[in-house]
């Protein structure tokens, strides 16, 4: 029983090590080892969930790992509904992505390396999920960064991929720096790093962190910002598409981006201090709105349909021999029927069409912000509705252009449906995307975060629950979706080129160049870099080379030159100086 978390965590690592050391040559075996490792982890997660149902405790699951003075760091696991859910998402969705990659990456030379990185990534994510203290979480957090670097830069021969990997890693490091500072601050103020200990300390003395609560919250949030790719550290995410498509699915959907939200939910009690909400609220809305249950729920459903969409996109790319321009597609509906159907489900789920899962999870967040919700905030409410409309618009655009209409390029003619290993993950994720909304996840998470009102409803009642308890939110959510769909239909139903850039003019150009964030960052970095190097060069030139090096040399030489004058070589001068010295001594002694 207490062995299970260790198995869950270390099986993928064993897979990664085994592949790297022994089966590098055998591509097929490497893939199978990696897939077996992740699914065994999934299986053990299931067992763990069965064994611990109802009595979630982390007793007996930790070992002392590091002791430095007062600081004691455990290597231990936390098993609760939150981490159990994440275990299932990471191993389940991750496992489907593994299987999918087996088909997608089949022709690549370096499949072994790919699966080793994939296993390492799974290991790191499981570590983040299971960690029972902040420092352990941070270590695995960094490991996630490293393995995502390996995955994004998998095709490192391509310069753009190598650059994207570096960008992702460095941007993440920026966030992680805040994270570690936050951890240090928490440790300094509360004297512990274990989540359970921290929780108790804060429960006994809510004001224990004093005025530093906001700072600590913001710093921890900074870490989440890097991993979840939130403004202003979002710049790495679009570039991360340079990796193989399954990697995009893994990073965007299942895990890495989710790691940030998971971390915030994990340390939610730390942030739940008066004063820090206001700042955080605008950033990670749901957690900021004191609705971590809703946040985790959306994270779970999001993992299903976002992974589904990415894998579907990968399937299309695979079928079209790595053609990625949607304006060369069209009419894929008949060529790729299964991909078409599952992609449709993913699109509808992402856009929040009932009764698919996206509707329920998005509604949870909307309801929290709506005027009748737990934390009414009209600004955020409008923001979310607007974003929902935009989502519906761009997804509908993608779908209309790529799958419907006429084929715009002859590459579509040769398209064929992807093999079974790629199609089945799509089907499973599609099914999950449909049913996840009314499986009762929301209530489970709600109870975990101490919401007494959460209670299980029947499946049928669950279907209509959103309209019952927050009609305004449900209505606005649907309205946004319909609005997005209809605008997209009007623009793209029969378009053969994109009509929008011409209409938006400057805005389109700005968006194409990603609002010039890369340029701004490049400029900022260059400016600071130049300022720092200017100072450093000044110090080097004037203090080090000038004062220390040349100063020493100069003084020595000056003395040398002066003393050289004494050495005339003239016997009589020496004799004269000798007599002078004797006279001086005599004068001193006889005085």
């Amino acid at each position: 029983m207490s062995l299970l978390p260790w198995l869950i965590l270390f099986l993928p690592l064993a897979g990664a090590v085994g592949i790297t050391l022994f089966t590098q040559r055998d591509r097929d075996l490497s893939a199978k080892i990696s897939i077996a490792a992740v699914w065994l982890s999934f299986f053990f997660s299931g067992l763990l969930c069965l064994f611990t149902s109802g009595t979630f405790k982390d007793a007996g699951l930790s070992a002392e790992w590091l002791t430095v003075g007062d600081l004691v760091v455990d290597f231990g696991f936390i098993i609760d509904p939150l981490s159990s859910l994440m275990l299932f998402i990471v191993t389940g969705v991750g496992g489907l992505i593994h299987i999918y990659s087996y088909g997608y990456m089949h022709e690549d030379r370096a499949v072994s390396r790919f699966f080793a990185s994939l296993s390492l990534f799974t290991f790191a994510m499981l570590g983040v999920v299971l960690a029972n203290n902040l420092l352990m979480m941070f270590i695995f957090w960094e490991l996630v960064g490293v393995s995502s670097y390996l995955l994004i830069g998998f095709w490192y021969e391509k310069e753009s991929a190598a650059d994207a990997a570096k960008k992702a890693f460095i941007t993440n490091r920026l966030g992680d720096f805040g994270f570690i500072l936050g951890i240090i601050l928490v440790w300094a103020t509360l004297g512990g790093l274990n989540f359970s200990v921290l929780k108790e300390t804060l429960a006994k003395n809510p004001g224990a962190m004093g005025g530093l609560a906001t700072a600590a919250g913001l710093l921890l949030f900074c870490g989440a910002m890097g991993k979840s790719a939130q403004f202003p550290l979002h710049v790495w995410l679009p570039d991360a598409m340079e990796g193989p498509t399954p990697v995009s699915a893994l990073i965007h959907a299942a895990t890495m981006v989710a790691a940030g939200v998971y971390m915030l939910c994990r340390v939610f009690f730390l942030l739940d201090v008066p004063g820090s909400h206001a700042q955080l609220g605008y950033m990670v809305m749901a957690v900021g709105l004191a609705a971590p249950g809703a946040a985790m729920f959306h994270l779970a459903t999001h993992a299903f349909f976002k992974a589904l969409l990415f894998l579907g996109a990968g399937s299309v790319i695979h079928a079209l021999h790595h053609e990625q321009d949607i304006w060369k597609m069209g009419g894929l509906k008949s060529k790729l029927p299964t991909t078409y159907r599952t992609f449709l489900i993913g699109t509808l789920a992402l856009c929040g069409v009932p009764p698919l899962s996206g509707f329920y999870s998005k509604d949870g967040i909307l309801a929290a912000a709506s005027p009748s919700g737990s934390h009414p905030n009209p600004f955020l409410f409008i923001l979310v509705v607007g974003v929902a409309a935009l989502t519906a618009f761009y997804m509908a655009r993608l779908f209309l252009v790529a799958f419907l209409g006429k084929a715009k390029d002859h590459c579509v003619d040769h398209a064929h449906e992807s093999p079974g290993v790629m199609i089945w993950p799509l089907r499973i994720l599609g099914t999950l995307s449909v049913i996840a909304g009314f499986m009762g996840l929301e209530q489970m998470l709600g109870r975990f975060f101490g919401d007494e009102h959460a209670h299980s409803l029947g499946y049928i009642a669950q279907l209509f629950a959103p309209f019952g308890h927050a009609p305004l939110a449900a209505f606005f959510g649907l309205f946004a979706t319909v609005l997005g769909f209809s605008v997209a239909y009007a623009l793209y139903a029969n378009a053969s080129t994109d009509p929008l850039p011409a209409k938006l003019g400057f805005l389109a150009r700005a968006m194409r160049d990603r609002f010039y964030f890369d340029e701004i960052y490049t400029g900022l970095i260059r400016l600071t870099h130049e300022a720092i190097s200017y100072v450093a060069s000044w110090i080097d030139r004037w203090l080090v080379a000038g004062l220390v090096v040349r100063g020493t040399h100069g003084t020595t030489e000056l003395f040398g030159r002066a003393l050289r004058l004494v050495q005339t070589g003239n016997l009589q001068t020496y004799a004269f100086l000798l007599v002078l010295g004797v006279a001086l001594l005599l004068f001193i002694i006889l005085k």
């Binding site: 050289r564 050495q567 005339t568 070589g569 003239n570 016997l571 009589q572 004799a575 007599v579």
Partner: protein, 101 residues
């Protein structure tokens, strides 16, 4: 006039100063060497004077040794000067600056 220790010492000091002046001012190495001997003998004179006025023979014994050593020293020194002259064709001290770096 009674001749006392002071007179001898004054003569000795005069001789010593003359010798020193010769060493410092004369340019010829040979003459410098002679001045050096003069300084030695000034010291001898002082020692003999002390010996005589203190009724102690130690000073005179010391002088014998000094004269002996000085004789040996003169032979070596003159030999060096002659050798130097043969090599450099000069006995002027300004030309002997080999100790300068």
């Amino acid at each position: 006039m009674h001749v006392g220790l002071e007179h001898y010492l004054v003569v000795s000091a005069l001789l010593f100063s003359l010798g020193l002046l010769g060493v410092l001012a004369r340019r010829n190495v040979l003459v410098m060497y002679m001045s050096l001997e003069l300084m030695l003998n000034a010291a001898n004179l002082a020692l003999v004077a002390f010996s005589r006025f203190n009724n102690n023979l130690n000073g005179q014994v010391m002088v014998f040794f000094i004269i002996t050593v000085a004789a040996a020293e003169v032979s070596v020194g003159l030999a060096l000067i002659v050798a130097l002259y043969r090599k450099r064709q000069t006995a002027h001290v300004e030309d002997l600056t080999a100790m300068k770096l």
